[in-house]
């Protein structure tokens, strides 16, 4: 049952990720990615990570992608023109490269599966409990946690400085 749900959610994720890459309209891209991230959250629940699944829905699908939509509205970019720039050999080479990379990645993953230890330590249902995760964050990972909060503050200030209109100072080239 778990496996069936996981496979269905994974299939939906892959289909909508492909739609995201293939659509020329960036708004359609963002909307397909929202669906992909929702179904990825279902996968996370099945991998005993309900807290991460909630974070995925709130932060990724809720905040980051809405930010993308806002920027798209702000910039008002239309659909991509189907123009041919560069040689067709470039497209061909990139396709060949991606196929080779996929083969390499999958073979590496297969190897790592056969060599991974099979110990399922601890109760799986305790694994992703928010309380247990909080003990990790405020225990051994306290420094990292605080560093991330400083990083988010820095990103906030950086985004503000970058996106602000330069009206009061000299343009610096």
């Amino acid at each position: 049952m778990d496996r069936l749900v996981f496979e269905a959610a994974a299939a939906v994720t892959i289909v909508f990720a492909a739609l995201m890459v293939l659509s020329r309209n960036p708004v359609h891209s963002v909307l397909s990615l929202v669906v992909a991230f929702f179904s990825l959250a279902i996968c996370y629940v099945l991998l005993f990570a309900p807290f991460i699944a909630v974070i995925q829905v709130i932060v990724y699908a809720g905040a980051i992608l809405v930010l993308f939509l806002f920027v798209l509205m702000l910039l008002n970019v239309g659909r991509e023109r189907p123009e041919k720039t560069g040689h067709p050999i470039q497209t061909l080479l990139s396709g060949v490269g991606i196929v080779l990379f996929a083969g390499f990645l999958l073979s590496t993953l297969r190897q790592s599966v056969t060599s991974a230890p099979r110990a399922l330590a601890g109760e799986p249902n305790v694994l992703g409990k928010p309380e247990a995760l909080a003990r990790e964050f405020f225990g051994g990972y306290l420094l990292h946690f605080e560093a991330v909060s400083v990083l988010l503050l820095a990103a906030l200030v950086g985004a503000f400085v970058l996106a602000r209109r330069e009206s009061h100072r000299e343009p610096r080239g």
């Binding site: 778990d2 890459v21 991998l47 990724y60 910039l75 297969r110 790592s112 991974a116």
Partner: protein
């Protein structure tokens, strides 16, 4: 095995998502779509981390994924601010037309 889900399946889904994201990052010309593809690649890495974490019965995978999501949020904010500034400068976010640093 994670419950009844084999680890190999999780990893194959993760690898497929990564390749789709790589395709998008290489083939799209709209900077925002490239950025979305990079987000997708990050999510595929998260899926692999959670799969391994669940398979090994440790919580470290989820901790790392939490940090990855936080950093992705910071990256999205700064990246989109850069696009807004760039659009103000050049009136386009087509990466073929943005060649300020190219000579």
């Amino acid at each position: 095995m994670i419950g009844t889900i084999p680890l190999a399946e999780v990893l194959i889904v993760s690898g497929a998502l990564f390749c789709i994201g790589l395709c998008g990052a290489l083939l799209r010309r709209n900077a925002i779509q490239i950025f979305l593809s990079i987000e997708l690649m990050m999510n595929s890495a998260n899926l692999a981390l959670l799969g391994y974490g669940a398979s090994l019965g440790t919580r470290e995978g989820q901790v790392v994924v939490f940090f990855v999501i936080a950093i992705a949020a910071a990256e999205a904010a700064v990246g989109l601010a850069i696009f807004v500034a760039l659009f103000r400068h050049t009136e386009t976010i087509d990466v073929n037309r943005i060649n300020l640093l190219k000579w």
